[in-house]
């Protein structure tokens, strides 16, 4: 059984600070570089790592992550390859929780049972399957839980009080609050809106609440880190890969540099003097 996710959130709570969750697409721009990017993230201060599984039709994602998916698939990324990446990462880092985020079809094609078995054996801790709402996820949730994998559910601005219990029933690891109704990497939510939303979710669950979608800068991240248990940044990091490819820079260095600034901002957000900026 894993428990890395629960342990990490307990550590964060004891330290009195929020966590940074970094998202990058596996295999972007190729599996080898991607592994170095992922391995660098905890060293830069990422508390939890979310790895995107490339899919040809990522319908909840904005242009940045769509393009990352296409780059990764063009370089031959597969779900088996992503699991392999995590397996190798675990030889270097056995503490940082790793969550896979993606769409259901590649998992179905792999075979649900085989997938959860290999994912758990590789050291993956949780799964976010964007197009698998609670109504449809039993066939993945049951075998995943049996292997100790957390099923991380999304709560969105459209998840009203009538629906929230459905989302929470069977959720584990943490609750992912999608801050805006929309796709990844586009609009941002106002801090007050997120504050209210997190407070509402906290009243309904004991799970840690992470906030994501539309968080681009260290300043955005710090603002939300005052209210949520963790802040997720994805598209902004993925754009660094694209920018490095455009100007011949080093994607690992570019992503690490932004991750470091994000982590510093998130970790300092609740310190004395950070209030009321």
């Amino acid at each position: 059984m894993s428990g890395r996710i629960a342990r990490r959130f307990a550590e964060l709570a004891r330290a009195g600070r929020a966590g940074l969750i970094t998202f990058v697409t596996a295999g972007d721009p190729d599996m080898e570089t991607s592994e170095e990017i992922v391995a660098s993230l905890p060293l830069m201060g990422a508390d939890l790592i979310e790895i995107g599984v490339p899919f040809s039709d990522p319908m909840a994602d904005g242009p940045a992550i769509q393009e990352a998916n296409l780059r990764a698939l063009g370089a031959g990324a597969t779900l088996a390859g992503v699991i392999g990446l995590v397996r190798r990462l675990r030889a270097r880092d056995d503490h940082t929780p790793v969550v896979l985020m993606g769409y259901y079809n590649p998992i179905l094609a792999f075979g649900v049972e085989a997938f959860v078995e290999e994912a758990a054996a590789a050291g993956i801790d949780g799964l976010i399957v964007v197009d698998l709402p609670p109504e449809e996820d039993a066939e993945l949730r049951r075998p995943a839980k049996a292997r100790g994998l957390d099923i991380i559910r999304l709560a969105t601005p459209t998840t009203d009080d009538a629906r929230l219990p459905k989302v929470l029933d069977g959720a584990s690891g943490f609750l992912y609050h999608v801050a805006v109704a929309g796709i990844t990497g586009t609009r941002s939510a106002a801090e007050e809106t997120v504050e209210r939303a997190v407070a509402r979710l906290k009243r309904a669950t004991d799970l840690p609440v992470a906030v994501g979608f539309g968080i681009k800068t260290p300043e955005d991240a710090a603002a939300l880190a005052r209210h949520a248990d963790a802040v997720v940044v994805g598209s902004a990091l993925v754009r660094e890969v694209a920018a490095a490819l455009d100007d011949g820079g080093d994607p690992v260095a570019r992503v690490s540099a932004l991750a470091k600034r994000l982590a510093d901002a998130v970790h300092a957000a609740r310190e004395e003097g950070a209030e009321g900026r």
Partner: protein, 409 residues
Amino acid sequence: MSAATKSGINSYRGGPDEAGHFGIFGGRYVAETLMPLILEVERAWQSARHDPAFRAEMDDLLAHYVGRPSPLYFAERLTKELGGAKIYFKRDELNHTGAHKINHAIGQVLLARRMGRTRIIAETGAGQHGVATATVAARFGLPCVVYMGERDIERQKPNVFRMRLLGAEVRAVTSGSRTLKDAMNEALRDWVAHVEDTFYVIGTVAGPHPYPAMVREFQSVIGREVREQIMAREGRLPDTLVACIGGGSNALGLFHPFLDEADVACHGVEAAGRGIETGEHAAALAGGTPGVLHGNRTYLLQDEHGQIREAHSISAGLDYPGIGPEHSWLKETGRVRYFAATDDEALAAFRTCARLEGILPALEPAHALAHVIRIAPELACDHIIVMNMCGRGDKDIFTVAEALGEEIG
């Protein structure tokens, strides 16, 4: 005895279940942001379909705006030429806007109004569904955005212009394969970002529940009319129904009212493109495997890793890597038989129909016609085939000219 009791299934017309499943197919595979909306659409539709006022408004528009019922036409010269079964065309290409798509566009836009939605979005492949949606949106004064793959915009220019004349904004989709599946992704992305005011008018019997069942119900007017018309004409039900299938809306519209009639055979015709064996086709049932895309579980063209493959068909309206989930179920139960016709067969059928019947079929029903041309000669002369002529071919003349190597401006 009905087909249903023969096979041990009570009825082929009872699906889907409450969660939108046809056997293992269908369902609601959407992001959480959309789930509450999908559930709201379902509630609104359940209330609307039992509301006499809603049905009356729908029927009035179908009669006076669309021109229903569409005729059932005996294709006498084609029948004589093939020398076998008696062939009827259900003339849904005579509908306002030139295809069957208007049937479900009206239903969905009326539902959007009932739900208080003020903005309409749609995806389109050949442009027929886009034109139909833009038409109904114009009729009700609602702003309309149509997502269309860049490649489809190139090959369906007349329909693009038509939509713009109707006041719709046509947004070119440049992601992925730049065809219908990508347009659907983009429409879903739009919807998720405009949940308050927007209604997504889906163009076929696919997508998350309740769309497959709802679109089927709006299209079933085709089969209900055929039933009455053939009884008046021949005094009995037809022997074989034939329809082309991309997502499968016109086929289900024709088949569904007959599914429990054991003696009525249903043949769906997918697009075999350059040939199933070449891999360049759009035949999800013949050449695909079950998976999850665009909100439902169904047969899909995909690689061994679950990545969606590009479809190919000369007909933009059939060029989609999936198929409505009910068709996947009907295939597995054996109630409907599925065939395929290639680009070349469809082109040949297009020309035959033009010359013998004075009708330019759309390239989509030209696939159904290719199948009719294959089977009719082997059947007895008292065997009745009804084929759904679900669209007219005016939009396709540039594609046909190019395929025939002719320049037409």
